[in-house]
Symmetry: C2
Subunit: 265 residues, 2 copies
């Protein structure tokens, strides 16, 4: 999403290049119109709590697909693909510590691993851009600013923690439209969680994000906050699972589903 000059190619073509090690770069802008997904992989012992956590917190953790234990093929979102090889770069955590950032996870695979695909904001950012609403970090070609809020997620089993949000400055006359446009995609974080008062959700300085990069807020723009998928990883990590594997930030899994398939109306 750093520019709109998209790489050509179907999702299948892109996954084949990734699998062959020929396309190890962030996926924003690839396969426009197709859904990209966050990846979280956990042992089955930890997977139940995580699944309940996602059900209770659908805005930060919109579940697109949960795979059977040991199965690396997401048959709904991308039949024929392999989650062990078709992401450009992975992160491997043991007991909550990052231990590896490999280009495939074949050597880490085990029959008890459950894979989760979660919605990603690329879908609603495309919809914002299509509606003529600017997306500042796309213009600035930086990472989206993220903040740890004072809003608590709903805990599940051993999993709990604060909601992480992304911020996009929106021209005040387009804020209502931005709410409408993103509401159409509840599976991709959906409507904003907050509009306009960072301090009301525990953000002391909107120019200093906890993660990602700061972006310019121009005269007449309102900071608008959406739930962020990083919440899921932060919460899962806090419980120090013996093994957790995710995509590396920006290196998303490119699916065969169209953005339009997830529009509610």
């Amino acid at each position: 999403m750093t520019d709109r000059n998209h790489l050509p190619g179907t999702p299948r073509d892109i996954r084949a290049l990734v699998r062959a090690g020929k396309l190890v770069r962030p996926t924003c802008g690839m396969a426009p119109g197709f859904v990209q997904a966050n990846l979280v992989i956990l042992p089955r012992d930890q997977a139940f709590d995580f699944l309940v956590f996602c059900q209770r917190n659908p805005k930060p953790c919109p579940l697109l697909e949960v795979l059977d234990a040991g199965c690396p093929e997401p048959v709904q979102m991308a039949p024929g693909s392999d989650l062990r090889t078709d992401v450009g770069k992975y992160r491997v955590y043991r007991d909550g510590s990052l231990v590896d950032e490999p280009e495939d996870i074949l050597k880490y695979w085990r029959p008890d691993l459950v894979s989760f695909l979660l919605g990603c904001s690329f879908t609603f950012e495309s919809a914002l851009l299509d509606a003529g609403i600017p997306v500042r970090h796309v213009e600035q070609q930086t990472n989206v600013p993220m903040f740890i809020t004072s809003i608590q997620t709903r805990p599940a089993g051993r999993l709990s923690g604060p909601l992480v949000v992304t911020m996009r400055p929106i021209p005040r006359e387009q804020v209502v439209r931005a709410v409408q446009v993103t509401s159409r995609f509840p599976g991709m974080h959906g409507a904003p969680v907050h509009i306009g008062q960072p301090e009301a959700i525990g953000i002391a300085d909107v120019s200093r994000p906890d993660l990602g990069d700061a972006v310019r807020i121009e005269e007449g723009e309102v900071p608008v906050f959406w739930a962020c998928g990083v919440t899921a990883q932060a919460v899962a990590m806090k419980s120090r699972p013996p093994l957790m594997i995710t995509h590396s930030p920006g290196y998303m899994f490119v699916t065969d589903k169209r953005d339009a398939d997830y529009a509610v109306l």
Copy 2:
């Protein structure tokens, strides 16, 4: 929903009467404007597959809340309530066979039981009626007709089986509006799964439902089919869990959430 002359009382009042054994009757029409829910309770060993099944089949199995193992209080949907006593009549199944239909399940409760609340069509039927669209089984004061279709659900672990649907005859000039109105409630079965050709989804005779009661289809009306929550129970039962507890048909759990809380737009 058999008539629109509703019992007075808040959801909390109604649950108190149910808990005291003073209101053992089907809940349709009670607490208008508030969400009523299907209840499924399974041992934790079976709960993971069921949770994945619901995630994969959100139209028949829209999850409203999943409780922690052993917890009988749905803190999101009805804080202070108790799922062991606040439903009028339950069904208890052992190894897939009905063994009891008690008015509370205190004696069956175990610390490993996981409770699921699922969306119910009462919400969207209210919305249809509010939009001036007739709901035939409500007019006829009978149970909604249900059919076992040739559409297969997406399996999860040991759980699989055909989709069960409900049928409502809709005047042909109101079919589009019926799609729009029910699309607003994806958490309550949402948009129809099929319009107009029963044989296309394996229904040989639309006047002979597999479950529930037949309803009249008048000249100029089109049979419209929605995913049905009975799918969840049928599929769970087929796997013969050692214990499964559900509400008894029509005796729903009355929550504190408003229908409007679940409208997507």
